[in-house]
Structure formats: structure tokens, C-alpha cells
Subunit: 368 residues, 2 copies
């Protein structure tokens, strides 16, 4: 990486055809994705949900830990975990996805965490709504952003930092924004942010700050590294870029049949092959999922599972009946949401490989 | 991969300097390692323990699932999960490590699951001893091996198979060999082999068959793919190779200080830096851990935590006091076990990148 690129806070872009480096691999082996056969579960079991940690998983002692709420508020607060857990609790089922999902299939490839398509998961999160706590602290009438700081510490492209993200005040005040201490009915696991994390349904993972230590109300937009530099849709180094916010629509197929160990290519037997998967959008409800079994030449509508009003922020199941004939096939699937946004069939490249929702392609060999 | 290589059941070997391919990355993003800061936990939390799945995580319905015991026995058995769980239960703390751990740092690199050093974990496994069940079935006096078959199905180097491994009868009869239904006090997670798996302390992960469906007593050595072809120490394609069996000694350092996001390089502040880690061997108890803070020029003895007779198959904690001076440093650590085996400082290459226990090297920048 050139010093110029580093000083601009930008990932290097790999040469065309350049293999994944040991630096990307070191991220891939410690952060983990959801194997796509786990799309079968309504709620992703512990350890199968994706995890992306910028620095280390910190060792936080819940006995001495405090959450401080400060900045442009009337009353600074410092709360223990017991105090937070004694507040009204809500459990919601929420789909989370990393903003870098799909980056490793970009051509050319931005050099960072090299996700293929597995940086997703849906969990039941239990916590207390953030808005009443902010109200108790007394928000300044000039407030615009709320900054969330975690205990995870490191250096990113030359900037030493505690991981921190700003969120527009209106988002922080949504009733669905929760301070979370439990996942799938059990205490939050270390890698998911124990003892306390933020969950803001609809937003990509970078907003879901883990290992929370501070919440600061701001009267100016937050200009920390992760908002101003890292999570932006840039086309080149000079482009300040639009911020990455809510999750774009995506459908994924649970891989049918069985795999080859090394290539991960799929094999099915000819005949009726039920195809199933999940679809989501953080912007509007999913309204349509389409499937192509001929490499994108033609598309058919999948059957969407009934919308579940109890879980508006979860993924939605879909199914499709495929009559598979012997030979090679390529399966594609794409989602459309209520805002009219549909997944692109051709990549829409950006400099950091973010918010990419290119359609999934699954090559399949149909055996006689 | 050439057809010849495929027909010999061998991984391709990467060219020198060749980056990791999308096939290796697809394995790295779905199998997951233990981030090394998790060496801090005596028992690895759910989701941080390493996982290596050859094919897919199968969907097994515990209600209809049965374990069949057959082959060279007097009485074939078919047991439900309830029947197994009503038998005497034992909980043991066991370190597991993948035989391919460290493969991605080999030069040249065998093309397979590209582990760096994170394919480890220690869990509390609860199950019932295998030996009394085999005795109830009545083992043929001619028996030599016991074959364990899982529900995971796929193709590996041209061979369609259910994952299956043979184990010498004497190992299967060890009192520590368990049929396991719980991990860390909770029901076995899908990716760890639900509803039932084998745990044989001391052996590399390939022997710890998950999603068990069949156990067959054999009067001839098992010749299935995973024993005869996959898990062998070969120097070239013509070498039948020695079988991979028990875990070689290894020590790992919990990374000190804080990381750079992309390079994962470590930064500490000058002064007293406590170094901690774990060490293990599946062959004999760990007797010594050494640390070098000057790239291997000199070594000092780490302090081993007292041996815990309650957990003979767990890893052992160690610590070392480092007075760090500003500049660049390289930390190394190596374990020796009671058989006298010590980790090598230079790689001992084999054709499939297995049972490699080359010492860990951790570059550190010491800040003023």
C-alpha cells in the first residue's frame, strides 16, 4: 500500500487476477461468516451468525463496566449493567449484514475483509430502548448526531482509535434502537459485544456498535474515522463519498444438493429440486424474489413466506420449484423491496467495496 | 488442478508467491478459526471455537435420528438420542486442533482450507463413554478398527462420500472416548455435530467425527478416503505416507497490545508487557514453554500454570514477563512435551500441510 493511499484512509485495490493476500486471509480466518446452508434457520444459531471485529475482541469485566452518556445533555449518566437490565426489556428479531459483504467478488477487489456472500445472520436481540435513556439525560435542542464508542481499540489506516460511530439523532430515537445484553435468549457472547451493544434495525453492521462504553450527544455531525473516512461509497480517492447507511435488498439461496470440498460447487440429482432461501432489505419490506435457473436468461417469481408482523426486521423465507435437467446450470436470485429497488445483475463498483448487493450466482451440476 | 493430482487425491500445491484463490477463500469464510485473543478463556465460548466442515452442516432431525452400531459385533444396536442421554454421562475439558492448522504459512502452500494458526479451541464436552456400548454390542475377537460415519455428504477430490473415519480399536476403547451431545453445558450446536459426535481426546480434529449416524466394528483396517488418502503425511504424490494421529505439541501467544486492522500487526507501549498464552500436546503432557523476544536469538522459560489433574486433555496456561524497549521486535514461543518432542523453528513440509507445528512468530512494534 502506498503512503498516499494510507494517508487518504483508503484500502488498496488489488491488481486484476491478484490472489488474496495473507493480510486479507488473516481477517478472513478470524472474522467469520454464516455458512449459507444456515439460511435454513429462522434464527441463526450461536456461532453461525457472521462476526466482523475491526480490532480485537476486548476483555470487558461486566462488574466494573459502566455505560456513560454525555455530550450535549442536561444530565450525564453512568449506568451499571444491572441498572440497564432492570429497565424495560424488548426482544426483537433482526437481520444484520456487513457493509462489506460481497467485496471479495468485486473486480478489481478492494483489499480489506474479503467476504464472499456470508456476512449475514438473524438473531433475537434483547435489550432496552435507547430513546427513553436519552430523554432522561435531556437532549440539547441543537443535537444532530449521537456517537457510540466501543472498548475495541486499534489502528486503522494510520489512525489509532477506539471504534466509534455516529448515528443521526432521529435514528437513535427510533423505538427499535436498543441497548442489547442478550442474544438468542442467552447472555451476549464476547464476539457479539458483551456486555452491551447497540442494535439499530435496518442499518449495515458498522452502525451496530459492540462493547459500548460511551454514548455522546453531539450538536455537530460526528467526524470520526469510521463515519468520515471508512464507511463511505467512493468512486475514487478524491471522492468524499456518500455515507453507508441502510441495508440494500438482497436474496440468498441456500445451496442445493451437496458440495465439492475444495471448489464448493454444488451437485444435485435431476428431477424436482426445491430451492429455498431468505431475502431482506433495510430500506423497505421485501416485495418480490425472483429466481433464474438458466444463468439469468429468464426469471420466475419465488413464493414468499407470509410477512410476519411480529418480526418486521428479520429476513423473509422464499421457495421456488426447479425441475432440474442433467447438465450444468447456473442459479441466480434477486430481491426487490417496497421502495422499488432491485438487486443489480452487473456489479456497481465502489472504491471500498461497500453496500454491494450484486446478485448471487450458484453454479450447479445436475447429475442424471 | 491436474487430473493426475485429482486422481491421486492430493491437494494442488500453490506456486511460490501465488495468492490465496477464491476456492481457498470460500473455505476460509465458512469454516472459522478462534481469534487468538480468545486464548484468554479457559473454555472457549460458543462461536469462538474453531470449526472445520468438509461438506455442508447437515440438517439432522433429532426426533427421527438413530445411531446404528454394527459390523463385526454380536448384536447390532440402534439407539435414539434419549436412550443415549439416559446412559452414564461424563463431562471432560478437551483441546481440539485441526490437522491442517498452520497450512497457509507453508512455503509452498498446499491448496486446501488455508488456516494460519487459529484452528483450535477448548470446550467442555458432555457425553457417554463409547467403550461400554461397544462391549454391549459384543466386539468380534478379530476386530482391529472402528469406523465412524457422519451425516455430512459431498465430493472430495473426485470421491463422493459420507464423511467417515476409522480409529484403532484400542483408541475407541479408551475410557476418554465419548459420544457427545452437549458442549459447554448446552445442547451441541449444529456446526459442532448435533445431535451426536465423537470426541477422542489427544487426536487431531479429523478423528472427532460430527453428526454421527453409524459406528462399524471392522476386522480389517478401515480403507475409506479420509484415512487412506486425505489425512496422511506425504512428502510427494508417490508416498503412501504415515497416518495423521495425535496432536503435536504447540504453544500460542495471546497477541499483546493492540492491532492494526489490515495487517493485524501488534503495537505495545514500552515497559513491562505481560505475555500470556496456552500450550498443549496430544501425545504427552506439556513440560516446558519457551519464549523468545528477539526473533529466536535467545529463549527464556515461561511460567507454566499448575497442571490441573481434573483436565488432563485441556490446554495449559503460561505467562512470561517481557521488558519491551522501543523499536521492532519478534516474539516466538514453543512448547515441549513429556515425550521430549519440541516445536520446530524451521518448517517440516509435507504434501498436504498436516500436523505442522512450526513455531508462531508475532512481529510487534514497541511504541515509546
Amino acid at each position: 500500500m502506498s503512503t498516499d493511499t494510507a494517508s487518504l484512509g483508503l484500502a488498496r485495490v488489488a491488481e486484476r487476477g491478484e490472489g488474496v493476500g495473507l493480510d486479507e486471509l488473516a481477517l478472513a480466518t478470524r472474522n467469520h461468516g454464516m455458512p449459507l446452508e444456515a439460511l435454513r434457520y429462522d434464527v441463526t444459531p450461536p456461532g453461525l451468525h457472521y462476526v466482523l471485529t475491526h480490532f480485537d475482541i476486548p476483555a470487558v469485566d461486566p462488574a466494573t463496566w459502566r455505560l456513560e452518556i454525555g455530550g450535549a445533555v442536561d444530565r450525564r449518566l453512568a449506568l451499571t449493567l444491572d441498572e440497564l437490565m432492570s429497565r424495560p426489556a424488548v426482544t426483537t428479531r433482526v437481520l444484520l449484514e456487513c457493509a462489506g459483504n460481497g467485496r471479495a467478488r468485486y473486480e478489481p477487489r478492494p483489499v480489506s475483509q474479503p467476504w464472499l456472500l456470508e456476512a449475514v445472520g438473524t438473531a433475537e436481540w434483547t435489550g432496552t430502548p435507547l430513546a427513553p435513556l436519552l430523554a432522561e439525560a435531556g437532549i440539547s435542542p441543537d443535537a444532530v448526531d449521537v456517537a457510540f464508542t466501543g472498548a475495541d481499540h486499534g489502528i486503522e489506516r494510520g489512525v489509532e482509535q477506539d471504534y466509534a460511530r455516529g448515528l443521526p439523532l432521529a435514528e437513535a430515537r427510533r423505538p427499535e434502537a436498543l441497548l442489547v445484553w442478550a442474544m438468542n435468549g442467552a447472555a451476549l457472547l464476547p464476539q457479539h459485544g458483551a456486555p452491551l451493544r447497540l442494535v439499530v434495525p435496518g442499518w449495515y453492521g458498522m452502525a451496530q456498535v459492540k462493547w459500548l462504553t460511551r454514548i455522546d450527544v453531539l450538536t455537530e455531525p460526528f467526524t470520526g474515522y469510521q463515519n468520515a473516512t471508512a464507511y463511505r461509497l467512493k468512486v475514487d480517492a478524491d471522492d468524499p463519498g456518500e455515507p453507508v447507511t441502510r441495508i440494500r435488498p438482497r436474496a440468498l439461496l441456500a445451496p442445493p444438493g451437496f458440495p465439492d470440498f475444495m471448489t464448493r460447487e454444488r451437485f444435485v440429482h435431476a428431477g424436482q429440486v426445491p430451492l429455498t432461501g431468505r431475502a431482506w432489505s433495510g430500506r423497505a419490506p421485501v416485495t418480490r424474489v425472483e429466481v433464474s435457473t438458466d444463468g439469468g436468461e429468464s426469471w420466475g417469481d419465488a413464493v414468499l413466506a407470509p410477512a410476519d408482523p411480529a418480526h418486521p426486521f428479520a429476513w423473509r423465507a422464499w421457495s421456488y420449484h426447479w425441475t432440474a435437467r442433467p447438465g450444468r446450470s447456473e442459479l441466480l436470485t434477486r430481491a426487490t423491496d417496497g421502495s422499488g429497488e432491485t438487486q443489480p445483475v452487473e456489479q456497481q463498483w465502489n472504491r471500498q467495496g461497500m453496500a454491494n448487493n450484486l446478485v448471487q450466482r450458484v453454479p450447479v451440476t445436475v447429475l442424471p
